[in-house]
Symmetry: none
Subunit: 262 residues, 2 copies
Amino acid sequence: MPELTLFEFRLVYNMLSLSIAAMLGSFLFFVLVRGQLPAKYHPAMVMSAIVVAIAGYHYFRIFHSWEAAYSLSGDTYIPSGKPFNDAYRYVDWFLTVPLLVTELVSVMALPGHIRKPLTAKLVIASALMIALGYPGEIASGTTRVVWGLLSTVPFVYILYVLWAELGKVVEKESDTTRVLFRNTRLLLLATWGFYPIAYLVPLLGLGANASSEVALQVGYSVADITAKCGYGIMIYHIAKSKAADEAREAVPHRAGQYAPAQ
Amino acid sequence: MPELTLFEFRLVYNMLSLSIAAMLGSFLFFVLVRGQLPAKYHPAMVMSAIVVAIAGYHYFRIFHSWEAAYSLSGDTYIPSGKPFNDAYRYVDWFLTVPLLVTELVSVMALPGHIRKPLTAKLVIASALMIALGYPGEIASGTTRVVWGLLSTVPFVYILYVLWAELGKVVEKESDTTRVLFRNTRLLLLATWGFYPIAYLVPLLGLGANASSEVALQVGYSVADITAKCGYGIMIYHIAKSKAADEAREAVPHRAGQYAPAQ
């Protein structure tokens, strides 16, 4: 761990605390608004809630690990000797990433024979992606490159399933729902794009200094808040849009029943 | 306690934290999806939630006991002198194992005169199994063997009740439900199989070194996550399958009411 200025240490410290608060806030949102949606959208909301609860737990641990890893000496934060446990992030992703991809399938409320194989493929591929990344994370040089490349294979497969296979299913949705679905998928791609960049940092010889450590921790926090809280809110909007479409198609006296209270 | 390398200590550390997160996530799952099932399946979901809540508490304690039992000296984790309290596991099983076997009876939603005696037998046998195992756990040699054998008697009786007595009751369920029930029972047998193996480790003279201690802690964590979170999710699927069967059999205008959103 590099020595940090007061500003650098506190920036990470406060970003980690912001992450805990964002996970808590969005957990409450997903639990509390669930009842406004038809029952078939509840599983997606439950998964969103579980994802941010698990992430909140891990940010709580990361926060305390960060605090314990440094001690203040004059105007500088110096390593205390206690290791900073970044592996919490991998444990978190191992649990939450399969749930995140499942959410996107779940909110489409597809028939079981389409939903189940799609979910199985995405869950297995995403757990593999994280599991193959970890041996590279704790290594350097060629080992890191090899595991990184292995981990890229399931990542590309996930993109294929989300674009080619799930994309087809969405074509019959209304315009609003389709646009929301596409934006959610792009949000997922954009935020997930940060993780491989962070993974490459030590390979480019940028990992040992203060500013890259700070950039990494801040970047991870922003990526996690976007990919979990923001993504969950997008999923909620897809559910609301689909429910409104269905209400319009339903018998007249029921029309508008599930229309969002806008 | 043996000395551990950085990798060994952290592997156990992160597995224990993963267990806490898994218990938390599945607790929320059981609580939040309960409402989607008919009321007669709520007791099974409540039991699943209680099991993982109790296990989450114990993993929290085990995590902090593990952390306190070691201190970092250079590149090695050496015993700090504080004992690692593995007895948390027995306390956990004493409370959760009777609940786990009760869950499987409960989700079958049997009439009281069949359910109550089955539950009573399984609860008493499973509490006995754990209680008889503990005196052997803290002993070695012949004492360990004798208590281990005594503990096996109720274990075999539980298997008899689950296969012979509960098995009969399930014959009239639909194909899907029967397959789910059988898989759940096999999951229970497979995961429970780890505990006697772990119990035998010191008898085979394998207990004192680092790699067997690490294997034991990782194995316990994986077995507990599978036997509690995974098993609870299987129980949920049995409930969903039974509810769907019942909806199909019900009067036409109610058909599909409880059909899972497949």
